[in-house]
Symmetry: C2
Subunit: 260 residues, 2 copies
C-alpha cells in the first residue's frame, strides 16, 4: 500500500515532522517516494525511485526546513508500472499558468481513460494516466483558472468517474488549495485528516519515538491541515474520510465538503 | 550574467565536478539556481531561489552522484522577473509524453511571443514565455515526438525568431538529446562546448583548486559532451559556438550542426 501525505496551511509551514512519520512507514515501500512543495505559484518537486529510508533526497527533505502552504508527498509500493523515476508520484503538469500536482494511492482496473488532449503520460502507471485525464477534462471545463469553489464542483463531477475504476485515494493541489478524495471501495486504505490550530500542543509520531511541541513554533493565527493515509500521530483527533468523500482545504481550513 | 551548464553522455554520468565549477561562479548569482537530470524518460528537477553557494539543495547536488545522460543547469542573475521560485530556471513542460527542459541565458526585449496554445508561463520571466512559445510551436509542427534530426530542423526554424528579440543562449533537452543555441548578438555572453572521450585525462576547474582524473572513472566507450557559458576547466579544448549556432548532442557526440 502506498502512503499519501498532504498539508495545507495559512502560513508557510515546514512538514519535516510529518514527513519523518511518513518515511518511517517506508520499510515496505522501497519503490520510490516524492514530495512537492508549493511556494506561492512556484513549486519544488523532489522525487527518487530509491526508498525514502535510504534516499539522500529524502534525507534532504527531512533536514531542510522548506516552508510551504501546500505540500503533497507519496511513498510508493509499485502495483502498476515499473520502478522507475518517471513512475514516481507526485506528478506535475502546467495548466492555465499554474502547476498542478497529484498523487494517488490505489489501483485502477480496466482500460485507461481516453486521452485526446494536450496531456500525455510520460511513464506507464494508471495513476499518471488518470491525472492526465483529469487535467484534460479540467481544461475543457474552464477557460482559465476558476475560483476554488468552482473547481471543487468540477472535481466532484470528474473524480467519481476515475474512482469507479478501482481504488482511488488522491491528493491534488495547484498551490491555491489542497483537494483530497477518498476511495469508494469498502475495505480499501482510507484517508484521514487533522487540523492543528491554537492552542497548539504536543504530538507524538505513532510509529517512532518522536514528540514535537508545536506551541513554541506557532502563533495563535496559524492553521494547518494534515491529510494522511493513516493517522501519523497519537493523541490527536484524526478524522476518517467517508467513502467517496471529496474535501478541499484552503488556508489551513476545511473550506467545504463535496460528497462524491 | 547567468551561467548555463549542459551535459550529454552515452552512459549515465554524474555532473558533480562540472556543477562544482559552476557553483563556484555563483558568488555574483544569488538569485537562484536549478538543475534537471534526465534518467531515461524520468526527470529530477532541483531548483532553489537561494544562491547555489548557500543552498542546501545545491549542496545535495554537489554530494549525491546522480547519474544522468542529459543534464541542464542554470545559475540565475535576475534581469527580468522577480527573485522567486517560479522564475527559477530550468523550466519543465510535458509534450507528447516526454518532459522538456529549457534554460536561458540572456535578455529578450519587446512584446512577449504570442501564446494561444496549451502552454502558459507560471512566472513572469521572458525566458519562460519564450519556452512556452517554443513548446506551442513544436506542438503545431509535429503530431508526436519526431526523430531528433527532424526536431533539430524545426528548432533551426523556430529559435532564430526568439533570438531576434535579444540575447538568447539556450539549452533544451527532452531526454533524447541536448540542443544548445548561441546568441546572435555580438559581444554577448557565449556558449562553449567540449567533448571528453578515451583516452580520458585530468581536468582542473578554472576557478577552483580542484582537479579530477577521469581515467579511472571511465571506460574506453564513454563519451561526454559538456556545454557551458564559459569554459569550466583549463587545459581542455573548449570550442566556442559561432553567433546564432544551433548544435545538437546525442550519445555524447556532436550529432550535427545546424547554423541558425
Amino acid at each position: 500500500m502506498c502512503q499519501l501525505l498532504g498539508m495545507n496551511a495559512n502560513t508557510p509551514t515546514d512538514v519535516m515532522f510529518s514527513f519523518a512519520g511518513l518515511a518511517t512507514r517506508a520499510h515496505e515501500h522501497k519503490d520510490g517516494f516524492g514530495i512537492a512543495f508549493f511556494e506561492d505559484r512556484g513549486l519544488r518537486h523532489f522525487i527518487d525511485h530509491h526508498g525514502a529510508r535510504t534516499s539522500p533526497v529524502a534525507e534532504l527533505v527531512k533536514r531542510y526546513p522548506i516552508r510551504s502552504d501546500n505540500v503533497i508527498a507519496h511513498i510508493r509500493k509499485a502495483t502498476q508500472g515499473r520502478v522507475a523515476l518517471e513512475n514516481t508520484h507526485p506528478f506535475v503538469r502546467e495548466l492555465w499558468g499554474r502547476y498542478w500536482v497529484m498523487a494517488h494511492n490505489g489501483d485502477l482496473q480496466g482500460p485507461p481513460p481516453r486521452l485526446h488532449g494536450a496531456f500525455r503520460p510520460v511513464g506507464d502507471t494508471d495513476s499518471e494516466a488518470a491525472f492526465c485525464w483529469l487535467m484534460q477534462e479540467l481544461a475543457k471545463a474552464h477557460a482559465s483558472v476558476p475560483e476554488v469553489r468552482e473547481l471543487t464542483l468540477t472535481l466532484a463531477e470528474l473524480l467519481p468517474r476515475l474512482a469507479a475504476a478501482g481504488t482511488f485515494n488522491m491528493l491534488l493541489s495547484n498551490g491555491q488549495a489542497l483537494w483530497a478524495h477518498a476511495s469508494t471501495r469498502p475495505g480499501s486504505p482510507g484517508l484521514h485528516w487533522l487540523q492543528r490550530r491554537h492552542p497548539f500542543g504536543a504530538a507524538t509520531l505513532a510509529d517512532e519515538d518522536l514528540t514535537v511541541d508545536f506551541a513554541p513554533l506557532t502563533t495563535a493565527r496559524d492553521r494547518v491541515v494534515v491529510v494522511a493515509t493513516e493517522p501519523l500521530t497519537t493523541g490527536e483527533p484524526w478524522q476518517r474520510f467517508a467513502p467517496g468523500e471529496l474535501r478541499v482545504f484552503r488556508g489551513g481550513e476545511a473550506a467545504e465538503a463535496a460528497a462524491g
